[in-house]
């Protein structure tokens, strides 16, 4: 087994074994605490540009299969695990994770104290890092550190273009059709699309660079902004498009990055969290019903509002309410406009991986579409 190094921008170095492809990779180092769903994590486009640390020690036990892919490739910039599985054991497995990592040339590292690393990131914050294995590991520690420090910061980074679909495409629902949704693909997951299709929504998925005119030409009953990687502050184009949609009072729903962009469109600020939320056990309070949902999170940025209720949109969209908050750190987890048909959540109602507690949000989208059609 070859030696591999994980070099953090603050100079801390972890030595382990090479995992996946030999070579080097750079990215923002983040930890994810889910105990299941490594395949969904790896294929989630929101992880583009990030080196992901899995806190669950055993990874790869159930192999990989087509059905559980959230997109058609692995997006992480690098992968850090403790104990990769030697065998695959699951009736649905089609190949091993090792093969999959090789196929997508993902550079990884295994056999390190992932808990010490996680605790370090928790206190020092997410930071840039690099994994170096094989010949790449031969350079001196200071040379490697230099490379890490030369990498791009996540703050200010726009990654939507890298993850979005090249061509727009339409998919037909699997239940009786009730309306059309225009999706702006900022890094969408397959499960999101499936949730909509199963509820009778026809979807057309547009590339991230779509214009408002192209969207309205489709005459959608609702517009949806997906999850995705990068700093929302850098997504000025998508925010401008969204404002045009909101101006026309077309119903809007956003998830994750989509929530941040709604926030920005409404005139709120976004900020980078110290180490983000990445897990599938996160308690979120639905402030309307008082109920707690256990939810899947994957966000490094969040929306900042002044207060929780009766907030006025600085950009003139009327009253806004913080519909959901994180019970762990009180961070904004959902927005609901009171005067225009728009809402969004910071977390992942499509789950995959994660609990299904919040899939009702897709029903809310359906309700919004239905109400809007009636009003027309």
């Amino acid at each position: 087994m070859t030696t591999a190094l994980l070099v953090l921008e603050d100079g801390r170095i972890f030595r382990g074994r090479g995992y996946g492809k030999q070579g080097s990779t750079l990215g923002e180092l983040v930890f994810a605490t889910g105990m299941t769903g490594y395949q969904e994590t790896l294929t989630d486009p929101s992880y583009a540009g990030q080196i992901v640390v899995q806190t669950a020690p055993h990874i790869g036990n159930t192999g990989v299969n087509k059905r559980d892919e959230e997109s058609d490739k692995i997006w992480v910039a690098g992968y850090v695990v403790r104990d990769p599985s030697r065998v695959v054991s699951n009736f649905r497995a089609e190949s091993s994770l090792d093969e999959e990592l090789d196929k997508y040339e993902i550079v990884g590292i295994s056999g390190i104290d992932t808990r010490a690393l996680t605790r370090h990131l928790r206190s020092a914050g997410s930071m840039r890092a690099g994994i170096f294995s094989g010949a790449a590991a031969a350079a001196s520690d200071s040379q490697l550190l230099e490379m890490v420090r030369a990498a791009k910061h996540m703050k200010g980074l726009s990654l939507s273009d890298q993850v979005t679909t090249e061509q727009a495409f339409e998919e037909q629902p699997t239940a009786a059709s009730i309306g059309k949704v225009a999706i702006v693909d900022l890094g969408i997951k397959r499960s999101t699309i499936e949730h909509m299709l199963s509820r009778g929504l026809t979807v057309k998925v547009f590339p991230a660079k779509v214009t408002a005119a192209e969207i309205t030409a489709y005459q959608p009953d609702a517009v949806f902004y997906s999850n995705g990687p990068g700093d929302p502050e850098a997504a000025t184009g998508q925010v401008a498009v969204l404002r045009e949609i909101l101006d026309q009072k077309i119903p809007f729903f956003g998830i994750c990055f989509g929530n941040q962009l709604l926030g920005r469109a409404l005139g709120f600020d976004t900020y980078k969290l110290p180490f983000g939320h990445r897990g599938i056990n996160q308690p979120v309070l639905d402030r309307t019903t008082g109920k707690v949902e256990v939810t899947a999170h994957n966000h490094g940025f969040a929306v900042r509002t002044e207060g929780l209720d009766d907030i006025t949109s600085p950009n003139g969209y009327g009253k806004v309410k913080v519909s959901h908050i994180s019970l762990n750190d009180d961070c904004v987890e959902g927005l609901e406009c009171q005067d225009i048909p728009a809402f969004s959540v910071q977390y992942h109602p499509e789950a995959a991986a994660g609990p299904h507690d919040s899939s009702y949000l897709f029903d809310r989208l359906v309700d919004l579409v239905a109400t809007n059609k009636k009003a027309k």
Binding site: A56, N61, R92, V292
Partner: protein, 1098 residues
């Protein structure tokens, strides 16, 4: 909405005696519940018949009733205490059944008491098979095809639908009691017949077989706002077919994709909703077909359980504590996570480590029992270990069992592959090691899977462990990388020593030479996402340790490891008390234990908790980590049973200070020759004795000292192999039977003692500080000497001993304490025969009876002992009120009498041909638990103890009597009295003849072994038909043994009262009268304590 304001007082129902399937996990949950409720300002009333528990400590409730858990007694308590609500979900199936009975009898309604934690409807829905089946289907899951049967004909008719093999499950029993697999009609008749008997509703469920499927459990909680969380997923390594309590289990589940896991979670949440558990938790068991993922829901329990205790320890999420809070109206998001302090409990713990639980069995105590593991739980305890991966956790857990052969090994030839593959088809104790040997013998992963259906992922982990072992064995030297690699996969120094052919000490020296020591990680519920405030640690070999420095004076307390027969909750009680007392005295207390069922492994109990195996290596490493800061005052070894005591010498040799009695002094008591010297100096007598290696030597000794003799192998635990031998023929028979057990040999000879027939046996628990002796209590056994003290019932204070005799016992104890050099606790067993006092044995450590003494007399012996161990004197403890001024030898007039009765697990163990094992008591301990009855006089206290033990004395009916010749003269009086009280007397011909000569009219019953030519049903038939209510049967010589066995086995099966000694029967006569005289009154321990204080002051 915070807690309900209408609940001011709550009656908590405990789980009663420790039995298989219901052990001290309910002491843990009950203790948590009591704490929570009191912290909330609620008046807590507790009923639990088990005096060995921590929850029955008078400090944990406002009114503690150590009384039988029966509807009648609970009604009396309700009348007296007027609770607003009853919390029945933390006391296992016992409490739930009691609550259901209270409901059915209309008692809840009559006194307007609300059930909290689970509603009656929810309990019914969860436990009624038919209703539950529909509920599962509605939740979108499947159930095994099944048929409900109320008699054997129904069962036979079901074969057409289900085919063989078929699962038989009786309704409303705990721990799967009476369940089993029927492969043919004979099996079906036997298992279903017993199951119909065991079920309080005479109902069994017959199911299609899902043997070999993957088995999972989820622990869920739900609050009144319908917020649900899954606290933990548990995967059974042993597939469906082995009771989850007997399986090796792992948390979290390791072989499910997220899609499959979330499907189980969805089903689980739907079920907890539909059942209607809305202020508490439940456990749901699933079977998953490994071929296609079909999910079947096996069962759900709407209460805390053994699994929830395990899940609490595994995740750091205290289910019982949270359940108690939900029951009084809190919601999950209102309750803070204890460990992070800043995040709420409405989340799902995530683990960055692996937890493995392994069961501990006691088949050696029941040689006749079938050791095959089935859906009926047979294990008596469990050990849990945490590691940063599965192989590490598994190997740590296996060594935590403290049992020779429980760990993987690489010595000798593993044996024939084909034979091993055949052997592992049958699940038994230690199968995992046989699997490892089969792999060593060249079996492939696929072959092992074919034999065991254990998931290939788990099999590969053993392959991996074997590969690492090969690397270690074949390496040119044991270098740092190799040791680190081995430690990452959980190898102990002892295993490395075995593989390298050097000593464990040498391995340790090499390892320490490389400065290779474990680091300690925190159980934090959140995989490091938030800082943890609770120092709950486990070891691993990695980069960073999380033990926070402290400048305090520290005391390490060694726990007692997995529960086993002879070492159970009693020792945990003492350890926990020591922790409390030493904490109060200003020390930082550090607990080391590996038993997930206990209060000692609750992170709230001690200042620091290390969940680690109790081996010398693991304990030394914890101590080393703690010695990095502050001052280690010493280690407490005398409270954790043999487990802790066994480590004393090794710790001392490593230079670690031992608190209290020194290891050398402990030796004085254990080594026969040295102990004899102490007795000689004190002019005390021991029964005549000798030691033998061969039968011939034993015969000579026995002839010299006279039969009967008590034989016992040296260096064994819990009276293993101990027997009373009445004649030379029986001695030959004894040697025949132990021949292949290897328990007697030149290095460990057989001890042969004169057995004191008709002697009274006496137990004393005392405290000695070097100056003064303080007696906790003097207990008189009800059975004559020869029955293991753990199995014997006893009374405190003694009921037949004079003050003078008690004084002699006290003086003798003091002399022994002085002779040995005790600092702390001492237990001595005496026999009193013809007014001569003999010393049987002395143990300078906490005994099993310490908690009983504390409950009976209100003397907190373990707390006082721990303070003596750190240097306080008894005089100062009395002066500052930690001990009452007058010790346990003071028995003021009007003292309450407490009777301790043992609870035996015979009903759990069937022989291969399906009958129960013999229920005879002997010098080898076999009880799993105990109960206490306390009342104004012995008859009432004894009757309560019998009721609490589950064999209440009947108010009318038939008594069958058949006794050995030596007992016949003593039979007349008690039987005459029973007849006068209105009981009908049945007897076999021999016994009947003697009774007839005394003018006692008896119906003669045919013996089971009598030829069929004699007319009428045999006694066994009558017992089976429920026509006998009490059985008196004492064992005679081997020729009549078989008949007696049949009688006792049938009685065990029929759940009737049985007396196997005349002493028991005589003691019970007054109790029959007490039972007939009417309902018992109840009094709390707090009231008893005030009574005693007042009486002593007079």
């Amino acid at each position: 909405m915070p807690k309900r304001s209408d609940i001011k007082s709550v009656l908590v129902i405990g789980s009663g005696p420790i039995v298989i399937g219901q052990a001290c996990e309910f002491d843990y949950s009950g203790t948590q519940a009591c704490r929570v409720l009191r912290d909330e300002g609620i008046r807590v009333i507790l009923i639990n018949s088990n005096p060995a528990t921590i929850m029955t400590d008078p400090d944990f409730a406002d009114a503690t009733y150590v009384e039988p858990i029966t509807p009648e007694i609970i009604e009396s308590i309700i009348i007296k205490e007027k609770p607003d609500a009853i919390l029945p979900t933390l006391g296992g199936q016992t409490a739930l059944n009691a609550a259901m009975a209270l409901d059915e009898l209309g008692i809840l309604k009559k006194y307007n008491v609300e059930l909290i934690g689970a509603k009656v409807e929810a309990i019914k829905k969860g436990e009624d098979r038919q209703i539950f089946k529909q509920l599962v289907l509605d939740a979108g899951a499947d159930v095994a095809k099944s048929v409900i049967a109320h008699n054997i004909d129904d069962c036979l008719a079901a074969v057409e639908v289900l085919g063989y093999p078929m699962v038989v499950r009786p309704s409303f029993t705990m721990g799967g009691l009476g369940s089993g697999f029927a492969y043919n009609e004979e099996d079906l008749r036997r298992i279903a017949g017993a199951g119909l008997q065991a079920s309080p509703t005479t109902e069994v469920l017959l199911e299609e077989s899902i043997l070999g499927w993957k088995e999972y459990e989820l622990e869920l909680m739900r609050d009144k706002n319908d917020n649900c969380v899954v606290v933990c997923s548990i995967e059974n390594v042993d597939p469906v077919g082995v009771h989850t309590g007997d399986s090796i289990t792992v948390a979290p589940a390791l072989t499910l994709t997220d899609r499959e896991y979330q499907n189980l979670r969805d089903i689980g949440i739907q079920i907890i909703r539909d059942v209607g558990v809305d202020t508490g938790g439940c456990n749901i068991q699933f079977a998953v077909d490994p071929k296609d993922g079909r999910v079947i829901v096996i069962e759900m329990n709407p209460r805390v359980s053994r699994s929830s205790a395990l899940a609490s320890k595994a995740t750091g999420f205290p289910i019982a504590k949270i359940a108690a809070k939900l029951a009084i109206g809190y919601t999950l998001d209102e309750i803070p996570n204890d460990i992070t302090k800043v995040t709420p409990a409405s989340f799902e713990p995530t683990l960055d480590y692996v937890v493995v639980k392994v069961p501990r069995f006691a088949f050696e105590k029941f040689p006749a029992a079938d050791p095959t593991l089935t859906t009926t739980m047979k294990s008596v305890g469990e050990a849990m270990a945490l590691g940063r991966n599965y192989s590490q956790a598994l190997q740590k857990a296996l060594r935590s069992l403290e049992r020779r052969g429980s760990s993987f090994h690489w010595t000798g030839n593993p044996g024939d592959k084909a034979a091993l593959l055949e052997k592992i088809k049958v699940p038994t104790d230690g199968r995992i090691v046989a699997v490892q040997q089969a792999l060593r013998a060249g079996a492939s992963n696929e072959e092992v899977f074919e034999s065991t259906k254990i998931d290939p992922w788990f099999i590969d982990q053993i392959v991996l462990i074997n590969e690492v072992a090969d690397e270690i064995a074949s390496a040119s030297e044991l270098d740092a990388d190799l040791i680190r690699h081995a430690k990452d996969h959980g190898f102990s120094d002892a295993q490395l020593a075995q593989l390298r052919g050097i000593s464990e000490e040498e391995v340790r020296a090499i390892r320490h030479g490389f400065n290779l020591r474990p680091v300690f990680k925190t159980v934090d519920t959140c995989a490091g996402e938030f800082p943890a405030e609770t120092p709950y640690y486990y070891s691993t070999y990695e980069d960073e340790t999380e033990v926070s420095p402290s400048s305090r004076k520290k005391v390490v307390i060694l726990g007692s490891g997995p529960n086993r027969i002879g070492q159970g909750v009693e020792f945990d009680y003492s350890c926990v008390h020591a922790s409390f007392a030493l904490s109060d005295a200003g020390f930082e207390t550090i607990m080391i234990n590996c038993n997930p069922e206990t209060v000692s492994t609750d992170y709230d109990t001690s200042d620091r908790l290390y969940f680690e195996p109790l081996t010398l290596e693991d304990v030394l490493e914890v101590i080393h980590a703690e010695q990095q800061s502050g001052e280690l005052v010493g280690v407490v070894v005398q409270l954790g049973g043999q487990t802790a005591l066994g480590l004393a010498k090794g710790l001392k040799a490593a230079g670690i200070p031992i608190l209290g009695t020194t290891p050398e002094a402990i030796d004085l008591a254990e080594e026969r020759g040295l102990f004899q010297k102490i007795l000689d100096e004190a002019k005390l007598l021991a029964p005549a004795n000798g030691t033998a290696v061969t039968l011939a030597e034993a015969e000579v000794i026995a002839a010299r000292i006279g039969y009967p003799v008590l034989v016992r192998p040296s260096y064994v635990l819990g009276g293993r192999g101990m027997e009373i031998v009445y004649d030379q023929l029986s001695l030959v028979d004894y040697f025949d039977r132990i021949a292949d057990q290897g328990i007697v040999g030149p290095t460990h000879p057989l001890l042969v003692d004169r057995f004191l027939d008709d002697a009274i046996e006496i137990d004393i628990d005392a405290l000695y500080d070097g100056e003064q002796l303080y007696v906790g209590g003097v207990m008189e056994h009800i059975e004559e000497a020869g029955i293991h003290s753990g199995d014997s019932s006893c009374t405190l204070p003694p009921v037949t001993m004079s003050e003078g005799q008690i004084s002699r016992v006290r003086e003798a104890t003091e002399a022994i304490a002085k002779g040995i050099g005790v600092r702390g606790l001492l237990n001595v067993q005496f026999a009193l025969a013809n007014d001569v006092l003999y010393v049987l044995e002395a143990n300078p450590r906490a005994s099993r009876t310490v908690p009983f003494v504390s409950k009976a007399l209100g003397i907190t012996l373990a707390k006082a002992a721990s303070r003596v161990m750190v240097g306080e004197s008894i005089a100062s403890l009395i002066a500052n009120g930690a001990l009452p001024a007058k010790d346990g030898t003071h028995i003021p007039a009007g003292s309450a009498i407490s009777v301790k009765e043992a609870v035996l697990p015979f009903k759990r163990f069937a022989t291969k041909d399906g009958r129960f094992v013999d229920s005879l008591l002997g010098p080898e301990m076999r009880s799993t638990g105990e109960v206490m009855g306390i009342d104004v006089d012995f008859p009432r206290a004894f009757a309560k103890s019998q009721s609490a033990a589950g064999s209440a004395l009947p108010k009318s009916g038939s008594v069958f009597v058949s006794v050995a010749d030596r007992d016949k003269p003593h039979l007349v009086l008690p039987v005459r009295r029973l007849q006068q009280l209105g009981y009908k007397v049945l007897a076999t011909s021999g016994t009947a003849a003697i009774l007839a000569r005394h003018g006692i009219e008896v119906q003669v019953v045919r013996k089971h072994t009598d030829p069929d030519s004699i007319e009428g049903p045999s006694i066994v038939d009558l017992i089976n038909d429920g026509k006998v209510d009490v059985v008196v049967n004492t064992p005679s010589g081997s020729h009549a043994r078989k008949d007696g066995y049949e009688i006792r086995a049938a009685t065990t099966a029929a759940d009737k009262a049985i007396f196997t000694t005349i002493a028991q029967l005589s003691a019970a006569i007054g109790s029959f009268e007490a039972v007939l005289a009417g309902p018992f009154s109840v009094k709390s321990l707090q009231e008893h304590a005030l009574d005693r204080k007042a009486a002593l002051a007079k």
